[in-house]
Symmetry: C4
Subunit: 277 residues, 4 copies
């Protein structure tokens, strides 16, 4: 029976699979808050810290064949598949219910981005999500990038709703497009009638490392707009902890590409005849 | 109900989706006129200007998982999925009915090109299209590329039909193949019995910027063959407006590739052991 | 009705499609002879010349979404989809019936190679093919590569059958693998019980141009093993004619890659902020 | 009938296919031991040598469209598809039954890795496998990499089970992730309730050649944990034999990439007009 059950957990015929770990309580008009790895890892850090401070509970895991064909070592010798995770937070008086999406990676291919995000939207639609907030980074190329959090929306009513909370809504003057899940989640969500806000913390963008200051700025906005109460004092320590793991996964993406590049320069060693039919 | 409706708009199981915005009036033997981004953005500019001057009406939008996994900011803070658009123009006396296809981008992968174009052909077939005109650019590599518009056809009868209108039908001497939608739309259309004409405005091809002069030459031909009356005086102003947005999307394609290239050169930072199983 | 018929010709839901142009006569235990573009275009030239000299008749065309998203201009202004073609030759006394596969290109992606070849094998299986001969090039890297034709087989009995006809069956000492259709057609055919022979004409392999001398050597072997009678005197002239077209398609593959490479080096022009979510 | 049978062997509609050659005897709680090509070819060599010394019997072959579109010449003129193979070993008194997975290659694309491995897990699940041991290499970048075998597990109980046998279970301090089948087989197996151990032999990682010393270290561990009795004296000779073939397949991967790279630098030769629609 173990195999049959196991097969139901992750179906080899499906490309992306969301595995429910425990049924969450009834959520009231929850907001999906997304923080995946990206430039400066701002979303990953800010949302990860919120999850930890709010003691949000993991209720589902997402696996996908669109992710890197790698496993990670979270501790000294235990292996895990790359995954994204969904956590819920049941708001207290005056606070909204939240669903958090965090994870090890984004998709590897363009089509994969669309497909994984559609799976997430299918899934969170069942919990009644009608609003999405994504958190990402805005690489300015400056050594001192400032601390602004730039906002973009998929429907104008969110711009009004979140006005006066310190978000700079002039994103269009600075950026032409938003790459990956932070943007696509909102674009595809809009087609399902979900309103979307994208928060971009300014970061220098090089070297490609986690930027805790930018993550803090984004976190400040999240705390404000969702009226949360969290202790910010542990952020730096938490970033140090996260950093160790994030570096692994970060390096992973570069390695994948660099292995390929290296192979392409390697001498052809040994064979004297080169052949193409 | 909102989700069910939304789901019908864009079906997550389909890879390319055409969403009808409003039912167009009965069209009489319409011609599909295609202007998508490409070298010099000649098609995009020429057809975009026609749409605006003829006050053609948008009646459908096309979304695809074969496009870049990006969203664009059309104005200062509102996000949109990359898309193609279909507009119709009901001809006045002596003018033919036209359907225009314009958009933010072409497909990212080879297979995507075939699939998106097949979807378009399926769709416009329902409106009785039996003739297709695509507009593109011919990069000559010369700083002064001349102003000729070179033509190629998928069936010889169009060469006769459009003779004597200033199109240079000696394309075969200059080019061996036509890349992307401008060519493939005609090749695949021919298999469905649709006749095709491809108009290529000569442009230097570098730097990779919009070439309004070449777009004007192509526009002159379109105006002539379809007996249109438009005011050409606003073209330059229109190009400036378009340019701002086109640059964003243009940059987007380069960035995608350049991010990858950059990553492949990044030092492996931090880890001392490199590992491949 | 035209659309319905056209739709049957090429089905947009299928990825590879073989369109029968005319029903061939009953063929008696025919051999499939494959000559597709590759190093030195040896197979393409040798098999193309056989078709022309034997006046073999085209009976089917193969289109695939796995091919480049390009169209070619075969003459001065008429556009065609990239395709492969099947021709048959009804042998005279003592000659075997032959089916020839030639074309503009091979697949672009690894998976595409497998899928297009499986489609060909499905198709020619219906005509009773139990033996396949592929013709390709062996790039030696020498400026004077010699004129040997190296042979490899998928079942040993063909080695005996074709012994003593001038084929050098020591391929394994010189090459480790055979890339693309020339090899894969035999490997996948073997799984269906079809015997296979691969003939590789030695060529220098650089510059990447058609090598008529190597094609002639391969042609000599084909003529010998199938007891054909053809006039070899027009080969050079034929190669010149073919060359013009082959160059177009050859260039095409390089351009596709080089455009990408170029884009990756282009300056990011115009935007001051770079962004990745 | 030959075709029908042949078609059942490898189904053109399936992407990965496992062909059973002979039904193995009833296996008692067998362990899957995986050794595929990778850095230093440590797994390939160690598991290949075990198969040969234990006279394990091949009972199945795996073919996939996710592999390179190449065929290999195992001997001087016979062609074979790239494949993986499954062998079984029926343990003697006190020894466990083993299933070995070895082969010519891993998948080419990320998605292919997931899909091929899922097929293997589906298949070996039917034989009652509940434990998997993969063997790979750990490239240290040092010229003298030491002879440690580093271990990682997918469930902690295996760490206890295999303690005190010379495996260094501090992998997490040295590596962040495991690329390809050696890791993914365990990550995906865990989702089906299979316990996994990954053994990584330390190797310098450059030049990219087979490292028989590291393979020997890994082999020592395998012999110890499975209480096997084999003659190690022929390893060096066996490696020399294998080397010749492995080099072919190794070169193959580099060639594939390098051909592409070369093409991208080739001059555009002959055509004066470059064209993109």
């Amino acid at each position: 029976m173990i195999y049959k059950e196991a097969r139901e957990k992750i179906n080899s015929d499906s490309v992306t699979n969301i595995k429910v770990i425990e049924k969450p309580p009834k959520l009231d008009n929850p907001v999906l808050v997304v923080g995946l790895p990206g430039v400066g890892n701002i979303g990953r850090v800010a949302v990860g810290y919120l999850i930890s401070e709010l003691k949000a509970k993991k209720f589902a895991e997402l696996y996908s064949k669109w992710f890197f064909p790698f496993v990670v070592l979270h501790d000294k010798s235990t292996i895990s598949l790359l995954k994204n995770e969904l956590h819920y937070f049941k708001g207290k008086s005056g606070q909204r219910d939240l669903i958090f999406l965090v994870g090890d990676c984004q998709s590897l291919s363009p089509q994969g981005h669309y497909e994984v995000i559609e799976e997430v939207l299918d899934f969170i639609g069942k919990y009644g999500v009608k609003e999405i907030v994504t958190v990402g980074g805005l690489a300015t190329g400056d050594l001192e990038p400032g601390k602004k959090v730039v906002g973009a929306v998929s429907s104008e009513k969110l711009m009004k709703k979140y006005a006066g909370q310190g978000i700079d809504f002039n994103a269009g003057d600075k950026v032409g497009y938003i790459v990956g899940a932070a943007g696509l989640m909102l674009g595809l969500g809009k087609e399902r009638g979900m309103d979307g806000l994208c928060l971009l913390g300014q970061t220098s963008g090089f070297p490609i490392v986690t930027d805790p200051k930018a993550a803090e700025s984004a976190l400040d906005i999240l705390v404000k707009i969702f009226r949360l109460k969290i202790d910010m004092s542990k952020l730096e320590k938490k970033v140090d902890e996260m950093e160790k793991f994030i570096k692994k996964v970060e390096g992973l993406q570069m390695k994948a590409v660099s292995e390929l590049a290296k192979a392409s320069k390697a001498p052809s060693s040994g064979e004297q005849l080169r052949y193409i039919g």
